[in-house]
């Protein structure tokens, strides 16, 4: 086992390259790359890597970066890229194209506020703005989670039952530019975990097909139904991928949703990414003080597993959703999913807290305040905006 002190960005770069290299016995790998803060170190890592059979192509925009991936993927290669913020939005139309072509491209996203006005810091509004593009979306809480989830994402995306692209997101700077010790997946094991990609519908001169000509309403409905059917299979395929990961690497990454201290909880926090780590400490401390507080970590946002979410919340009567994002006119985006999932539970308070938006620090005191607040509420109310306290 190789252990290394790695930044989130270099961890993501390592995992992407290992996945690409694992396809050297098949049609190779390819990445179109373009820099943007805070993911730039990912694409720098890709450009410095030595691949047995691969092409890293530095292009002139994120729009082209993803299009290079689309061209490579439809020609049978394992394809991946990375982006952030406006870069994700600049490639937006191609995200839809990739999913509609059922191409298992994996993109590492270092989440950052969308501008202008420019703000470099973590906010999930970039990838969440593309929530309807039919990409799987994973949100990671640690460097290890990131390395492992990128490999799991390839495995799930490339599964013949799924064939949808995947975003694996980390908080910009909070993970991307901090370092943690990571068990780096060794190439030999990655080779075992990610079999050669055989994309059945790839370009084939012997069987010429037209990809993306004109379609009619019935075709669009069918296409969306098929995407939905694949999304519905993600929970089962993901569990298989995690089991297989455990067999190969000897550790099992967290799945779509993780319930912690929820069995008898009357108050449950819902969080993702680095906020989970802070929330977990608060929950542990309040548990030690005898409070029935629990935590649901949401790692998989698309598909959002509504039934599993309701189960994870259990018999709790108060749910506080932490959203590092905001959909003006609606509220927090994770809250929308939580409230929709819990619509059959009118007895429950599902309160939205917009916290850490624009990269604001989320402290244990913030989360203590959220727990205190939700515990005195008799019903759900408008989203609560929590501003960063000036240090």
């Amino acid at each position: 086992m190789t252990r290394a002190l790695m930044s989130g960005n270099h961890t993501a770069g390592y995992a992407l390259i290992a996945a690409g290299e694992a396809n050297r016995g098949a049609r190779g790998c390819c990445s179109g790359v373009y820099p943007i803060t805070p993911q730039t170190e990912i694409i720098e890592y890709l450009c410095a890597a030595r691949l047995t059979k691969g092409a890293i192509v530095p292009v002139e925009s994120e729009h082209s970066a993803l299009n290079v991936c689309i061209g490579a993927s439809i020609n049978g290669a394992r394809a991946f890229t990375a982006s952030s913020s406006n870069g994700v939005l600049y490639m937006a139309e191609n995200l839809f194209a990739a999913a509609n072509y059922r191409l298992p491209i994996v993109m590492a996203v270092s989440n950052r506020t969308v501008g202008p006005p420019w703000n470099l810091w973590a906010d999930q509004g970039d990838s969440l703005a593309l929530r309807d593009a039919a990409w799987l979306q994973f949100y990671c809480e640690s460097h290890q989670d990131l390395a492992d989830t990128i490999l799991v994402a390839f495995r799930v995306a490339e599964d013949a039952r799924i064939l949808l692209p995947a975003i694996v997101a980390q908080d910009g700077f909070l993970l991307s530019h901090t370092q943690m010790v990571v068990d780096l997946p060794e190439q030999g094991l990655v080779d075992r975990y990610l079999p050669p990609l055989e994309l059945a519908h790839r370009l084939d001169p012997a069987h010429p097909r037209a990809y993306g000509g004109m379609t009619w309403p019935r075709d669009t409905v069918k296409q969306r139904e098929e995407q939905q059917a694949s999304m519905d299979l993600v929970p089962a395929v993901l569990e298989e991928a995690l089991d297989e990961f455990a067999d190969v690497f000897g550790r099992r990454p967290d799945g779509a949703l993780t319930a912690e201290f929820t069995e008898d909880a009357d108050t449950v926090l819902v969080a993702c990414t680095t906020m989970v780590r802070t929330a977990r400490e608060v929950v542990k401390r309040r548990r030690a003080a005898g409070e029935k507080v629990g935590l649901v970590k949401v790692k998989l946002f698309r598909p959002f597993l509504r039934d599993q979410f309701v189960q994870a919340v259990g018999s709790a009567r108060r749910v506080a959703v932490l959203d590092r994002n905001h959909a003006p006119g609606s509220g927090g985006i994770f809250w929308t999913e939580a409230a929709t999932s819990l619509r059959s539970r009118p007895d429950i308070v599902v309160q939205d807290y917009i916290v850490g938006m624009g990269g604001g620090n989320v402290t244990p005191a913030d989360i203590d305040g959220i727990v205190d607040d939700v515990q005195q509420r008799g019903g759900s109310d408008a989203p609560v905006f929590i501003r960063e306290v000036a240090v």
Partner: protein, 302 residues
């Protein structure tokens, strides 16, 4: 190459690159261009990358297609980048199929310009073919930067006031291995240039004036004739540029009056059109080309 072959079906109809039954308009230059592309590539079967355009609408609707070779529709601005990915993986796997972008002037001169420029700068192993009908034809005839001055479109109802963008100068400035203009009126020249493109490695840029009866408001039967008049009056000069620096003019204007070309095209029936100014622009363009060819001629073996 025998010009009479133009009327001959090149291969069995169901194996053609561009098959019968497509929905292109009568007299569509793009449609004939696709057939000539097929004939020029002969036994080679290309991959086509087609941005939003008539070339992605007229092959018919799913699951039918008029294309007899693999065709990937890209987003409007993206064909040269998708082609990059396809080409890189093909070459990594030792596959030699020509990777051909087949794009209109909107997808080339305008929305696709940054992508095109970048792919040219990277010298990707791609043939980029622009069928230029000087208009956004697929959306019903709006101006593009390829539209000639004076031309009426739905977004320039009184006639366009700006000159046509010099796409060849832009592509030559990228120092691409090969760039050439093609006309449906000059079949031998078309086929020879396609062969040069085929034999060249790296980024190759070809632009063909593409008669568009619907957009030009012209008689569908007169498309080839209009293409010939465009070359004859100098509006669409036939030339090629090697490595972006060595020039060869393939055919010189024959004194055809510009008004002969404009006559019979409804798009030129504008009260504000200044024929003398357009003619002066054409003469200046020709003089510029002549000077370039004199100063930087193509080599004898090119």
């Amino acid at each position: 190459m025998n010009t009479a072959a133009a009327a001959v079906t090149h291969r069995p109809r169901d194996e053609a690159l561009w098959r019968a039954g497509n929905g292109a308009c009568v007299g569509c230059g793009m449609s004939l261009g696709l057939q000539w592309l097929d004939q020029a590539l002969d036994e080679e079967r290309p991959y086509l990358i087609v941005p939003a355009s008539c070339a992605v609408v007229t092959p018919g609707s799913h699951p039918a297609t008029a294309y007899g070779v693999p065709m990937v529709a890209s987003t409007f601005a993206g064909s040269a980048a998708v082609a990059t990915g396809v080409s890189r993986i093909a070459r990594l796997n030792g596959e030699t199929e020509p990777i051909v972008c087949w794009a209109g002037d909107g997808g080339t001169y305008d929305i696709g310009m940054a992508t095109l420029s970048a792919a040219a700068e990277r010298n990707e192993d791609v043939i980029y073919f622009c069928y230029d009908n000087e208009i956004y034809g697929n959306t019903g005839g709006q101006r593009s930067s390829a539209t000639m001055p004076g031309v009426k479109t739905t977004t320039t109802p009184s006639g366009k006031t700006e000159p046509k963008k010099d796409i060849m100068a832009i592509m030559a400035a990228h120092r691409v291995p090969y760039a050439a203009t093609l006309s449906l009126s000059n079949r031998d020249d078309f086929m020879r240039k396609m062969e040069t493109a085929r034999q060249t490695q790296g980024f190759r840029f070809l632009v063909m004036l593409s008669p568009c009866p619907a957009g030009w408001k012209s008689d569908p039967a007169r498309g080839i004739e209009l293409a010939r008049l465009a070359v004859g009056c100098g509006l669409f000069p036939l030339y090629e540029v090697f490595d972006g620096v060595r020039y060869r003019i393939n055919e010189r204007p024959d004194g055809t009056p510009l008004t002969d070309y404009m006559a019979g095209q409804g798009r030129y029936k504008s009260k504000t059109i200044d024929v003398d100014a357009v003619a002066a622009g054409i003469a200046e363009q020709q003089a510029h080309l002549e000077a370039l060819e004199r100063a930087f001629p193509a080599r004898g073996d090119e």
